[in-house]
Amino acid sequence: MGRTKKRLVSVVGLLVAVLFAFPIYWMVTTALKPANQLLSDSYDLVPLGVTFQHFVDGVSKQGFLNSLQNSLIVALAAVAFALVAGLLAAVPLARLRFRGRKGFLLLVLVAQMAPFEALLIPMFLMIRSFDLLNALPGLILVYFAAALPFTAWTLRGFVKGIPVDLEEAAMVDGCGRWAAFRRVTLPLLGPGLVATSVFSFVTAWNEFLYALTFMQDPGNVTLPVWLSSFVSVFGTDWGGAMAASTVFTVPVLVFFLFVQRNLVSGATAGAVKG
């Protein structure tokens, strides 16, 4: 490729980058703009003043802290349950030979394809019969079930990636099987545990349909539901809405930048194998 052509392509690339980053830029700058500059007709791509008033307002708005807390509880609990149950299932599926192993593998694989969005009605009826509507445990249960198949499958891959020789060496040195697993395999699983929990956390953090359906009491809603009502209730308070969206985005952004390498290579590894 010629040098001019490469320069041209690079300019296009920068424009595309601006296109993708702009909504985030716009969210943050709107959140920081003084209120009198928000609803104005002037063309203002760069903020002329900075204020943290919207963050103070947004955070102190009715229900924000409460829904933030609900979101954290629900997402973290679902991740914890999925990790424990997923790891327990991943180890025998990766390491042990037993009757019906293929069947269990197939079950986990098929479960990953469950169309959660289309199971809203039976889930609603089931959670209602458990008497868990409008309570955080009901939502935790659904998010746990949604995260579990992926967690088990991915962790199985990570366990398989750790050479079994390492465990056997520990056992030759006198470790029991459990001790060998706990002292050798488990520490090596660290990156796998982090990657899968981030994925499950982000899924639960984003989930809207079930949270909207189950949580009828305003005190029990999660952040996405709170934010969606915020826009319709406080129609023109865009500064507050953007400040709340920023707070909502930060945890995920931190996680993403933290595990970005894993995410990209993980996604592509799965895709290449098809």
Partner: protein, 331 residues
């Protein structure tokens, strides 16, 4: 995954010291655990929590949605707990309702638009990543990760603000560029333009994953193929068609299929933007299911909508499996 292989042989990890093993063997818990390990039931014990969860929380709902779709289940039946079978009545009333067919058609067109834009755009961005200067690539990738990471509802809220009728930055920019017709233009006036906004939003959210996946595929193409094409005097279009595209096609199939599955089921963005409005103009099957079932308590009818959605998804999945098997045979 590369992470695992890297982590698998750290220099510092030596087998544990014998000292701890002695204490382990001595304790009662250690003995109990070891006896469990020697038993044949151990794998099943370990698999029990996951299997039970999957069967109760996924298996039963799949069965239940089918059963419910053959019942009359409105608020009265729900409260009294009576089971009233009504055969195919739910399907009959849905399939003879022209509004349902309108929503179904809208869902199909909406899905197609999202998938074409996401995969096409993702392919272009992946090729851009290959050809730009190194530092531009880093900037581009950072921007994509930012877009990828943004929570769905946060992005939806920001897009509503950007597309705002009176003070939205988009209308202001268009006016600034000379399209004065967009002064105070309402993007949410008609169903079609509301859908357009939602497609733009979903494309923006979906491109990063597709672009990164295809970029990995682009990197995997052996460079000598390009050199050979260059020696043969191929134009850059010919090189793209016969080298890059041929190598990428299986990956393109995979991301197309994944996007199909995701976009067909989208609820969050559609609902959060206008709840299917204006006047049902952006209603899709997922919002219809919510509206019929949860908002107006016709659970049987809503379950029939769910079953129709699931059937469509199953057909899509089967189609994809066939496609994948066929390409594998050819290769």
């Amino acid at each position: 995954m590369s992470v695992t292989t890297k982590a698998a042989v750290p220099a510092g990890t030596t087998p544990p010291a014998p000292r701890s093993t002695v204490s382990d063997g001595g304790s009662g818990i250690g003995r109990l655990v070891r006896r469990l390990f020697s038993q044949r039931t151990l794998p099943y014990l370990l698999l029990l929590p996951a299997t039970a969860t999957i069967l109760v929380m996924l298996g039963w709902p799949v069965l239940s949605v089918v059963l419910t779709s053959f019942q009359k289940l409105d608020l009265g039946e729900l409260v009294s707990g009576r089971v009233v079978w009504n055969g195919l009545a739910n399907y009959q009333s849905i399939l003879t309702d022209s509004a349902f067919w309108q929503d179904a058609l809208r869902t199909v067109l909406f899905t197609a638009a999202c998938v074409v834009c996401t995969v096409g755009g993702g392919l272009v961005v992946a090729l851009l990543m290959k050809h730009v200067h190194g530092w531009v690539r880093v900037v581009l990738q950072l921007a994509l990760v930012l877009a990828w990471a943004m929570p769905i509802l946060a992005a939806t809220t920001v897009f509503q603000w950007m597309f705002d009728q009176n003070y939205g930055i988009l209308n202001k920019t268009l006016v600034e560029l000379g399209f004065t017709g967009f002064h105070h233009y309402s993007w949410f006036q008609t169903g079609l333009s509301t859908m357009t906004v939602i497609v733009i939003l979903i494309t923006w959210q979906g491109i990063p994953f597709v672009a990164f996946t295809l970029y990995a595929g682009v990197l995997g193409v052996p460079t000598d193929l390009y050199e050979a094409a260059g020696l043969d005097g191929a134009s850059s279009w010919q090189t793209f068609r016969s080298v890059t595209w041929t190598a990428l096609r299986p990956l393109v199939n995979v991301v197309t299929f994944l996007s199909l599955l995701w976009d067909f089921k989208v609820f969050t963005q559609v609902w959060a933007i206008r709840q299917g409005g204006p006047d049902g103009g952006s209603q899709t099957l997922p919002t219809l299911q919510y509206l019929k079932g949860i908002a107006t308590s016709h659970f049987g009818a809503a379950a029939a909508v769910s079953v129709i959605m699931i059937l469509a998804l199953v057909v899509l999945t089967a189609q994809n499996l066939r496609l994948m098997l066929r390409t594998e045979e050819v290769d």
